[in-house]
Symmetry: C2
Subunit: 242 residues, 2 copies
């Protein structure tokens, strides 16, 4: 019987890590994850054992961690942001029935929707949706339906994975769907390299967003109809002023 | 010119606070917030000045903080969870134009959608919506439209404020709207007293949720059609197994 911690490290460097995440990493003997995140941890925890794999080797990484925990090794699988939001908690738990001796705990972290929102102001101050534009594991038709429903419900929307080399135009296509219901003037924002070198934000209209190039280091926010630009901030009011 | 930090403390006690939140609280001279959260901080930071107000005095609290920062006092306004998700970042930024000498920074925190999800497993492992059932500042018709769109888009849904003394039946009404599109067997979960004494979770079907009493200390999760109960966990798969 061994513990397996699924740990969200928050965005970028380690300054948005929670105390609970740090405590779990201190307890673990073996720290696993995507190579870039593991490299951030080595200077903080030089005495640990490490195991890292590349970007598309998710299930292999999950199984490796479950096997080690099953063997009695206290293991932590680290994710950027939160372990449960497009992270590794899902696939690990999907596999966990085969590893009854791995005792799993999920440690939440600050996902990019929250950390990007904080840089922009309060774009998610009222009801919101989080949608990934990656069609690697989801049919584009499902993504399009969700975008349409998000616009129909006048939600503020946070878009993950707004672009990659293989799908350079997906943000444009997503904006076209949102523009069926949201006005071209809808206040939008982009947060890039959150918590890392080169951190930057930009406020723009939905019409401008449509024709803007982003990348896999960006998180995109599309306002609700009530969302305002106040000074340099993007704010979705909850209604306290009424 | 004074700094004003809007700080999300994460859920419950202070173990889900980030390093960045702690650093901001250490720097501030004056810590403000809702009474219950401020009481949590006093043992950690006994040397600070404090200002607290009750539950419905939000705008007064925001103005007080902006005024103190304007006077040059480094101030932190603390919120449970994240400052931007139904928190005080919105109302502060709405008022900030009148206080040009207050230098505002928003420090994100782990909101109940993430911390409750972690206790349940990974209910928000794919696209999701966050909706508050409180009609104190939002018309119920808007809430109902959003619930309907969330169900139509087959999102996993996280419900904040599922009940209060003044609206004991709003979760039931919300479930009835969701049941127009989601099946009665949809996997749901409740996380209560997250990170606090009496922390508990429960998995149940949407049909059962409809007839379950909750309270203001609960966060409710309603699955997407793909959401599964795996052992004792609630998991919304992203599709890695395909």
């Amino acid at each position: 019987m061994g513990k397996l911690y699924l740990v969200g490290m928050g965005p970028g460097d380690t300054k948005n890590m929670t105390d609970a995440a740090r405590t779990a990493l201190e307890e673990a003997e073996l720290l696993c994850g995507y190579t870039a995140y593991v490299e951030l941890l080595k200077p903080l925890f030089p005495q640990k054992k490490y195991y890292s794999t590349g970007m598309t080797r998710e299930l292999e990484r999950c199984r490796y961690c479950l096997e080690r925990a099953e063997e009695g090794i206290c293991t932590a699988l680290v994710c950027s942001g939160d372990a449960g939001v497009y992270g590794m908690a899902g696939p690990v738990l999907e596999l966990c029935s085969a590893y009854p001796n791995a005792e799993i705990t999920v440690i939440p972290g600050v996902t990019a929707a929250l950390s990007g929102a904080a840089l922009l102001g309060a774009p998610l101050g009222h009801d919101f949706c989080v949608i990934s534009l990656s069609d690697r594991l989801t049919d584009w038709s499902v993504i399009e339906t969700r975008l349409r429903c998000a616009a129909e419900g006048d939600f503020a929307v946070c878009l993950y994975n707004p672009a990659s080399r293989h799908r350079p135009d997906c943000l444009q296509r997503a904006c076209d769907v949102l523009l069926e219901k949201k006005t071209p003037e809808t206040v939008c924002g982009i947060a890039r390299n959150i918590g890392r070198e080169g951190e930057q934000i930009r406020l723009l209209s939905l019409k401008e967003l449509r024709d803007t190039e982003t990348d896999m280091f960006s998180t995109v926010f599309v306002g609700a109809s009530a969302t305002e630009k106040i000074g340099a901030w993007m704010v979705t009011p909850r209604g306290y002023r009424k």
